[in-house]
């Protein structure tokens, strides 16, 4: 074993990925396998799972038990809620959002995918590409995830057949031709037996690519938010009210994208008031430049009325849109359908307002990707293009340009539940 190096640890990249598949595609088993074969399982965890497997009468260690954290999940053998897992190899650190495939599947998958840079879609080799496979791939595309890994699982149950693998790959390619991923990879695996998950399999000599882990260690990590125009959303106003810091007023927030420097000519939106950056504070330091995703605080030259949700941008860069009307691709996440004229609270960046549903443009058939006329109502797990009208101006970019400033959630005023997730078109 190589000695542990703190320097190497700090320099490691972080890949956030999500997994999607329908019930019984073996998602939990795959994650259990990844953790087990990368030696990320501790002795006491292994002991507990081995005991539970014997108790259930399983012939082999039930790898799914590593991730099914809730009692009812272990009892029913299904995954209910999004779970987050952490593991690392000498090359990278990984955060997995494990999203369940059954009821509330869209809601769970959108949740897991919203912070991910790669998605693994699982296909049961016996069943091939089914409706849910297409739905998962479409959602990953809609959420702007650049890297898609298609794992054809349970190859052991189709005699490790190269023909079967090719057949599934071709049918997936036909469907995916309308989706905008940077890269799509195909890996034949057996999560149960461990083929091509961490170690390459000797049962599929016809497969020339790397194992799933090789891919996860090699695919591009990041969305390059720093090359986008600067967006700084004001989160909280810091006012110490002390003799030492009399009249001190700093705007705390996070760099959503781009870079800012002291001296930069800026505009505060939506007020459209120009100013200049006097100082940037990062705890006891005054950095010469800050970039996404740093959390810092900013002091301006001028005394302006700025509050939570306002956005500071550079005068010489492309400005975000400022409007009370937005067109959004909306995923509905609540059992009660969304109806025309209904009112909700919208959260866009750190801005909060009330919105009313003005118009349904079309609904998406996630199996064919066709646009459908709607019955002017949106049910759970459905996706539609809608027009929302807000009580206050929103400050946004299209989601395909900037994930941070282009996303919204809708909240039901009566229940306070998060009922919808939207990606702004314009």
């Amino acid at each position: 074993m190589t000695p542990f190096s703190s320097k190497a640890y700090l320099d490691m990249e972080l890949l956030r990925f999500t997994t999607a598949g329908s019930v019984d595609d073996g998602k939990s088993t795959l994650i259990g396998r990844l953790l087990y074969d990368t030696k990320s399982i501790f002795e006491d965890q292994l002991e507990a799972v081995m005991k539970a497997s014997v108790q259930k009468g399983n012939e082999y260690i039930n790898l799914a038990l590593f991730t099914d954290g809730l009692r009812s999940e272990r009892e029913q053998g299904i995954t209910i809620d999004v779970a987050y897992r952490y593991f690392q190899t000498p090359k990278r650190k990984f955060i997995i959002a494990d999203t369940p495939g059954h009821i509330q599947y869209t809601r769970n998958m959108v949740t897991g995918a919203s912070t991910a840079n790669a998605t693994i879609v699982l296909i049961d080799a016996r069943n091939g590409v089914i409706e849910q496979t297409q739905r998962h791939a479409y959602i990953a595309h809609l959420l702007g995830i650049p890297e898609l890994i298609v794992c054809i699982n349970k190859m052991d149950l189709v005699s490790y057949s190269n023909d079967r693998f090719n057949e599934i790959v071709s049918s997936f390619k036909i469907f995916a031709s309308g989706l905008s991923f940077s890269n799509i990879y195909y890996v034949p695996i057996s999560a149960l037996k461990g083929d091509n998950v961490v170690d390459l399999s000797s049962s599929m000599p016809w497969y020339q690519g790397g194992s799933l882990l090789n891919l996860l260690e090699a695919i591009p990590v990041g969305i390059t938010d720093n090359s986008l125009p600067a967006r700084f959303s004001v989160q909280y106003v810091i006012r110490p009210f002390s003799d030492q810091y009399h009249d001190y007023r700093a705007y705390a927030g996070r760099m959503e994208s781009g870079c800012l420097k002291p001296g930069d000519a800026v505009v505060v939106l939506p007020q459209n008031i120009p100013s200049r950056i006097k100082d940037i504070v990062n705890y006891k330091e005054h950095p010469e430049m800050v970039f996404s995703p740093q959390s810092v605080s900013i002091l301006l030259e001028d005394d302006i009325d700025i509050s939570r949700g306002d956005v500071i941008v550079r005068r010489d860069e492309k400005h975000p849109s400022v409007s009370q009307e937005i067109e959004v691709m909306l995923c509905w996440m609540n059992p009660a359908p969304m109806k025309m004229g209904a009112k909700y609270i919208v959260r866009q960046g750190l801005r909060e307002a009330r919105v009313v549903l003005r118009d349904f443009k079309y609904k998406v058939d996630v199996n064919t990707l066709n646009k459908l006329d709607t019955d002017k109502s949106l049910s759970m797990n459905e996706i539609a293009c809608v027009i929302l009208k807000s009580t206050k101006a929103l400050v946004f970019d299209p989601y395909t340009v900037n994930r941070h400033t282009g996303s919204i959630i809708l909240i039901d005023e009566a229940t306070n539940e998060t009922v919808g997730a939207g990606m702004i078109n314009q």
Partner: protein, 301 residues
Amino acid sequence: MNNHKLNHLRELESESIFVIREVAAQFERPVMLFSGGKDSIVMVHLALKAFYPAPLPFPLMHIDTGHNFEETIEYRDKLVKETGSRLIVASVQESINNGRAIEEKGFNASRNILQTVTLLDAIESNKFDAAMGGARRDEEKARAKERFFSHRDEFGQWDPKNQRPELWNIFNGRKHMGEHFRVFPISNWTEMDVWQYILMEGIEMPSIYFTHKRKVFNRDGVLLAWAPFMFLKENEEAIEMDVRCRTIGDISCTGLSLSSADNLEDIIVEIAATKVTERGSRFDDKRSDAAMEDRKKEGYF
């Protein structure tokens, strides 16, 4: 000019500061829970950074079981004094005295579960609407299901099967009267991240994390610290050994490990090589496979 990158610890730091600021912005009466353990120490450090140069816009609260390591209390009081923070101590002993909680009996008696009563009472009497905690998702399988913003009903209960979806970095902290939120700013940190961060930032730690001589006894493979209120079984004997804490909880449930690590670098090497989870030495989690889930549903940290 446009390819600046944060290393992953700075990325986690930024995410946590963002979450802590969201709490200050979205809630009227937030509080930060402080146990004196490494995770809450890191969380307080992040909070100080989040609002610098202003003081913390919320108090710290310690749920005191009365069975503390002395060093933890010394560290707590020093931190509060140096940072000018407000500290609220909610006492489990008081909950027992006024009949709200009943002391467990037997050799493995612990006040760990009783903390839930004291915590929920303190949240209610202080009218807190958000309580930040240092729990991490990698600690335990029920915690892996937690949100950053975790909604609690008017009884303080967690309903893991009906959680609000949490999308991008948009946190929905809206609630009805009487309900509150638990917020976990360091959800995405691992045990190794916490120690690396302590090293990187030069954060001072309580002395019991480093090797020291202490009277301990072996119970079911876990080394527990001897204290006047700990009853030994016939076959158990308290012997002085070189030990340190990997996690810090109440004395009655915190396992110690044999170690000669007297500095952060050695602790990190030790953790990189360990074969058991940090909660593997916690007696409170050994009670059943769903011990943590059951406690969390009732309102535990």
